[in-house]
Amino acid sequence: MLNGTVTSVFGNDINTDDIIPAMYLIKSDDPEYFATYAFVKFDAEFRNRCLKSQANIVVAGKNFACGSSREQAVYTLQFNRVVCVIAQSFPDIFYRNCLANGLPLITLEDTSGLGLGDQLEIDLDAALIHNRTRNTSLPFQIKTDDRRTFQAGGMTARVRAHLEEILTRQG
């Protein structure tokens, strides 16, 4: 069960340059470094809002995190204690980067039932968002493979097992 507060609501086509501008990428290879510069050119208050909550949920419109393949966008969210992003749609590269890093993404066609400050309880197994503030329940669709990967916190364990197979075969 994921619990958190909606601390940001964005529109359509938020890009990864909005989340973490390109120029910061070359300054560090420490995943935690980027959190300080989250949305620095787009929504400078983002980090302050996140700091006030133990578990943040981002709500967005269509095509959240389009653009660059930078995985730093995922770290930027995770190290600002974002536990889940709920959006109307996600492009492939960001979606896969979130699978790899275990940041749960929920695709919800109609996000109008979610607003700033709402307390949410998200049940990935039941594919249900319970909005405790409004006392409503919102069902969503999620592929079983994706749900398992999000719950496992990423894909690395599986890849490690595959590498074991390969190395064993090589002898």
Partner: protein, 446 residues
């Protein structure tokens, strides 16, 4: 049922027939490359994530196949900081240790040098740690960007995991371009029609007579920007032009590929190239595309109804111009831009930066007197790298800047200050605008 290009490529690599919507749990890839932004953390990630596994098998950390992996320092070189310089050092040391090819700083941009070197061929599955990896789709390959972690997985095992075969939208291009209209104008037009998310999760397959008549340089520009409408990638079939390009160049066997006549597409669209005029994308997204004849209308609209990704543009004045990046700085791009530049000067209020996309392009343009045209006109010609597209060096923008660029992204703050305004256009339109100091139509110079 027939297959699209992508369905065919994935079927071969997966060893079973697949169609859109199928999931391939383990998909072997054939080429993998890293730039100076993601290469260093990926090298560290390989040891961190898999070092123990190799150790348990009594083996040193090793890559899955050294012949299929490339490191290309291009984003921030010649190194703009100590961090970047040390990252390049790390890639070079890793390359020596693993026997993997590492390009030199200034050899060029990742999406240009691998194609030039014959490393990308039809049927390849290419992963690169950069979203514009889709450029390589012009070679009849399935190519797309991945993040650091998936890059590290592939580095260790040579596989991509849980790959969902995407649907395809078929874009049939007919007719020929009019004077001063190029493949960049076509793709800006298409992105404008589709919107920033219009091709989301789908592949853009470009086919037809219009494609067949295009050079490889022109084709790569189109595939490069498929991701700007959120396409999974762009792709084109094999034909005589690609065959001729690969002859004497391909480092791997070349086999033809085309989609089946009865392949199933999510959508089919036709564009008549003759109907297009030069296009300009307004800030802050590539989908804000307008024909050059309607610039004033677009400015008025931006003032009447500004939004966060379509802000008010005060005037058509240009302060900065950039001819470069993986989108448009190949040989033919420089040739066309030089036709516009010849006998003119860069406007006194404009800083014009020209960066050939690779060392090979640079040398050829120098030998043929093309670079000299820009230098004598007052442009700054720099060694091959991504330039200001990345917002880090070689022409970073101030808050007062209005930039016209041949690159692929005009997001807010992308090339410097968040107040700067960035317009996208073809090399010819960029150059005409650099001459006039305002958004300009290149056709009167040709």
């Amino acid at each position: 049922m027939g297959q699209t290009l992508v369905e065919k490529i994935v079927s071969r690599q997966a060893g079973r027939p697949v169609h859109a919507g199928d999931t391939v749990e383990r998909l072997p890839i054939t080429k993998l490359f890293f730039n100076d932004v993601i290469g260093p953390p990926a090298i560290k990630g390989l040891a961190n994530l898999f070092g123990e596994t190799f150790k348990r098998h009594g083996k040193p950390v090793q890559v899955f196949d050294r012949r299929r992996i490339f490191f290309i320092p291009d984003h921030s070189v010649p190194a703009l900081s100590v961090e970047v310089a040390e990252g390049v050092d790390l890639m070079e040391a890793f390359g020596r240790e693993q026997g993997v090819k590492v390009y030199r700083e200034g050899d060029g941009i990742e999406h240009v040098v691998l194609i030039e070197g014959g490393h990308i061929v039809p049927w390849d599955i290419v992963l690169g740690t950069d979203s514009h990896t889709c450029t390589n789709g012009a070679m009849g390959a399935l190519a797309f960007g991945v993040g650091t972690t998936e890059g590290v997985y592939a580095l260790a095992t040579g596989y991509l995991y849980d790959f969902v075969v995407p649907e395809t939208i078929r874009f049939e291009l007919t007719g020929t371009f009019g004077k001063g209209v190029y493949s960049k104008d076509l793709i800006l037009h298409v992105i404008g029609k589709m919107g920033a998310g219009g091709c989301s999760r789908r592949v853009a397959e470009f086919v037809g007579d219009g494609v067949r008549r295009m050079s490889m340089d022109a084709r790569t520009t189109i595939c490069n920007m498929a991701v700007e409408m959120s396409g999974r990638t762009g792709i084109m079939p094999y034909d005589e032009t690609l065959a001729a390009y690969l002859k004497g160049r391909a480092a791997w066997p070349v086999e033809p590929i085309e989609s089946d006549p009865d392949a199933r597409y999510a959508d089919r669209l036709t564009v008549d190239l003759a109907s297009l005029e030069p296009m300009i994308s307004f800030p802050h997204k590539p989908a804000n595309a307008t024909p050059v004849s309607r610039v004033q209308e677009m400015i008025a609209r931006s003032q009447a109804q500004p939004t966060s990704d379509f802000p008010a543009v005060v005037s058509d004045r240009i302060t900065d111009a950039f001819l470069g990046a993986c989108t448009n700085a190949r040989y033919e791009d420089l040739v066309e831009a030089a036709k516009v530049m010849r006998d003119h000067k860069v406007h006194p209020d404009v800083s014009f930066v020209v960066i050939p996309a690779s060392r090979k392009v640079y040398e050829r343009a120098m030998d043929e007197g093309i670079l000299q045209v820009f230098i004598k006109a007052g442009a700054n010609v720099e060694s091959s790298n991504c330039g200001p597209c990345f917002g880090s060096h070689m022409g970073v923008l101030s808050r007062n800047a209005q930039m016209i660029s041949s690159s692929n992204r005009n997001y807010q703050g992308r090339m410097g200050s968040r107040e700067a305004r960035i317009f996208l256009a073809s090399p010819a339109t960029v150059t005409a605008s650099a001459i006039e100091g305002r958004l300009a139509d290149p056709r009167k110079y040709l």
